[in-house]
Amino acid sequence: MTSAGSGLTLLQTCALSLLVFTGASQFALVGALAAGGNPLTAAAGAFFLGVRNAFYGLRLSQLLALPRAVRPFAAQWVIDETTAVALAQPTRRATRIGFAVTGLSLYILWNLTTLLGQLGARAIGDTAAWGLDAAGPAVFLALLAPMLKTTTERAVAGLAVLLGLGLLPVLPAGVPVLAAALAAPAVLCLEGRRSGTSRVHARVDDTPDAPNDAPEEAR
């Protein structure tokens, strides 16, 4: 995988897949370390990318209704894909099975491909000559594309690109990405100010007449 070109050892890369197991964070960490970033700055960027998993867990915990003792073991599998599969199931039994099957198969596949990718990349040697340095941004773009649903998301992405590139020459490696994260609260703040009046109508619209007691899950 991409980390072979960035100076991580085979063991370090595999440890990352086994222990972190949330793709975007792993790629971000590897990229930041390759750029010569401070390890804690690099970890902070990866951490913020992982924060969305807490919100997945929040929705999953209601659907799965797992005993407390099982939760620490299930937690490692709370990621984009397992959440998507689990939320799509009609019954609790199907939700649990969907979560477990997706989690287990992805965990095994992800770690196997990490190992194979590492061995393959080592055999190739110069990863840049083969264009492998373009794999990182392509992965990020593929993860980002489905998230760009409304103008708000596009505005956040655009502002983040400007911040990330604009600050690159002046701040230490890894820090511009963290600064770019500020695009999210900035756009939300602007949006909140502009929709000050329309929000009142929205409130009236989503009060109790919804027949479904968990409208969020329908998404």
Binding site: T22, F48, S61, A134, L143, L159, V161
Partner: protein, 102 residues
């Protein structure tokens, strides 16, 4: 050693947020503003990371074969190609442009 520190910190942090979601009582994080922010943070981070890894060379901004590769990835994404095909297109086009001396 530094790399191990970063891996350790990331592993602990990412596991902690996953577990927190399962353990925290529903409602604590359910405020609409918090949810919106959590949904938008990855958008900002991924956009910045995509741009940097395409145009950055250390502290300088450059235009090289990676741009063509990312363009190819964008085209395949618009065509709704599967994930691996998107990455493969980026890699192949970048390697091709470089081989031609780009």
């Amino acid at each position: 050693m530094n790399t191990w520190i970063a891996i350790g910190a990331t592993a602990v942090g990412c596991y902690a947020v996953k577990l927190a979601g399962l353990l925290v009582p529903a409602g604590a994080l359910e405020r609409p503003l918090v949810r919106r922010l959590a949904a938008l943070l990855p958008v900002a981070l991924l956009a910045a990371l995509t741009a940097q890894q395409t145009f950055a060379d250390g502290h300088a901004l450059v235009l090289d074969a990676r741009v063509a590769g990312l363009g190819a990835a964008a085209v395949t994404l618009v065509l709704r190609a599967p994930f691996l095909l998107v990455v493969a297109a980026a890699v192949l086009v970048t390697a091709g442009v470089r081989a031609m001396g780009g």
